[in-house]
């Protein structure tokens, strides 16, 4: 066995994106929640779009949600995914309301269904970066 390096695109680890992925590396899926009005938000932003408050916290998500929509990539449009096809980028709607773009670890693309219950399934891809994949709940 030869060791292969992870060659797919990674988030740029700075600012609020880094904070989000640092929580993932600790095995916790957290989203920003406004401390003023309680609204959850994703992707990370400096201010609450509901009430304009700058006061927020990284609130722990249950990690449970349902499949909202998806696509199956059959022809990779980025060289790093050339050998991964077919694969399915999936939008998961979490309890609490935010959605995120992910992939499912244990569901074949042709078995995907909108509304399917799923659960976060972290995948460490580099020593620094853990990505929030999901699996069937």
């Amino acid at each position: 066995m030869t060791e292969t390096t992870y060659d797919k695109p990674l988030p740029r680890m700075d600012g609020l994106s880094k904070e989000f992925y640092d929580w993932c590396a600790k095995g916790e899926l957290r989203f920003q929640r406004c401390k003023c009005c309680g609204a959850w938000r994703h992707v990370p932003r400096d201010i609450c779009a509901e009430c304009s408050s700058f006061d927020w916290e990284w609130a722990l998500s249950s990690g449970r949600g349902t499949v909202f929509t998806w696509t199956v990539v059959a022809r990779a449009l980025h060289p790093a995914f050339g050998t991964s096809t077919p694969y399915a980028p999936v939008v998961v709607e979490l309890e609490g309301g935010v959605r995120l773009l992910t992939q499912l670890t244990d569901v074949a693309p042709d078995a995907l269904k909108i509304g399917m219950p799923v659960q976060v399934d972290f995948k460490s891809v580099t020593p620094e970066i853990t990505l929030p994949y999901f699996r069937r709940a």
Partner: protein, 387 residues
């Protein structure tokens, strides 16, 4: 009120091609189209005092220097991707109506086939679009890397909610090809397409097959806008801007967290443009709809108000958007079968239809046409034009 204050007075286009490519720089092909548009208007290049270049495809300074525009008074770029040309028409109309400029040039062109390929989107490319950093940090790590994949998320959801079918997407592809076969300038002219061909084409990003995706071509187009008063003295019969608007989905820089995934820029822009024009949808003789992918035609027909949301699939079936149908769409063949003119070709075609220059693909007695643009994560623009 902008209604009828501005006119398109000149149009220009280069040939479009795939292999072997234009053989020219992206600046040079845009200059060719620009010079053609300026000559079509009966103007001298030095009279152009406003330029609105397409995002990332040339600077107004360089275009002005090449064209000899020594009196450039108005320059801006509308960062809306494929929605930029129609949004730039709106901006140009505002400029000439207010006196900020007299003659505004809007060019767009690229070596979309022989140059850097859209299909190989990289992290660096994303830096240039408004939602690029979000895509880089939250989409690309999971393999959502390119436009057909972004929009497939919307198409899939629409199919789930409204029962839109692959065959309905195919009806869009077939209509565009049928029109291209009436247009000798179309890259896919003389290449007939059947539903069986469509359904057999390779999957790219489900539900999008190869034949749901626009062409990648080299070529450029341009138009010139001036005020209604100035337009009366020029060479061509003026084409009036009755209504124009541009808007964005919310949030515009992130696709997945939209409360209403189907609400796009056009959902806001279209009612504004129709109010401005003071017309009904039934007054529209044809529409040139930005067709980056087949579903976006269905979606924009709905969001522009030509039918209710969820009814777009049925609208495009049975020849509904073909010449002779209830709303002929993309009479030149569109991005799907004419060429990827970055949406500027849709405006050029609308002007030709309203001038009555379209020969076998002419919409009979065309008086009013709608043109839309679509770009980035669902930005939208619309113009309602009349002869």
């Amino acid at each position: 009120m902008l209604k009828d204050k501005a006119c398109i007075v000149g149009i220009g286009e280069t040939p479009y091609c795939r292999k072997p490519g234009s053989g020219l720089s992206e600046m040079a092909i845009q200059l060719k189209a620009a010079v053609a548009a300026i000559e079509d208007a009966g103007l001298k290049a030095s009279q152009i005092d406003g330029i609105l270049p397409f995002p990332n495809l040339g600077k107004a300074e360089a275009l002005a220097a090449s064209l000899g525009c020594a009196n450039l008074r108005f320059a801006a770029t509308i960062h809306m991707g494929g929605a930029a040309p129609v949004a730039s028409l709106r901006a140009a109309a505002l400029a000439v109506a207010s006196g900020a400029a007299d003659y505004v040039l809007v060019p767009a062109g690229w070596n979309g086939f022989s140059g850097a390929r859209v299909r190989e989107t990289t992290t660096q490319d994303l830096d240039s679009i408004p939602g690029g950093a979000i895509a880089r940090d939250f989409y690309m790590p999971f393999g959502l890397t390119a436009p057909p994949q972004w929009y497939a998320l919307m198409a899939r959801r629409h199919m789930h909610e409204y029962g839109t079918t692959h065959e309905q997407l195919g009806a869009v592809a077939l209509a565009m090809r049928k029109h291209a076969n009436l247009n000798p300038a179309a890259v896919m002219h003389s290449k007939p397409l059947t539903m069986a061909d469509y359904l057999a084409s390779m999957m790219i990003a489900d539900p999008y097959k190869l034949l749901d995706c626009c062409l990648e071509t080299d070529g450029a187009a341009a138009f010139v806008v001036t005020s209604a008063e100035r337009a009366r003295d020029l060479k061509q019969k003026p084409i009036y801007v009755m209504g124009a608007a541009a808007s964005q989905p919310y949030p515009a820089d992130e696709i997945t967290n939209r409360k209403d995934l189907h609400q796009v820029g056009l959902s806001i822009a279209a009612p504004e443009a129709f109010r401005m024009a003071g017309i009904q949808h039934s007054d529209v003789d044809f529409a040139e709809i930005y067709d980056c992918f087949t579903f976006e035609v269905i979606q924009q027909i709905e969001e522009a108000g030509f039918c209710k949301r969820g009814e777009g699939g049925a609208f495009v079936e049975n020849g509904g958007i073909e010449l002779g149908g209830r709303l002929p769409v993309n009479t030149h063949g569109g991005l799907l079968s004419h060429a990827h003119s970055l949406g500027l070709g849709h405006l050029v075609e609308a002007v030709r239809q309203l001038r009555g220059e379209c020969g076998p693909r002419q919409v009979k007695d065309a008086e009013i046409g709608v043109v839309t643009g679509w770009g980035d994560f669902g930005d939208g623009s619309i113009a309602i034009l009349r002869r």
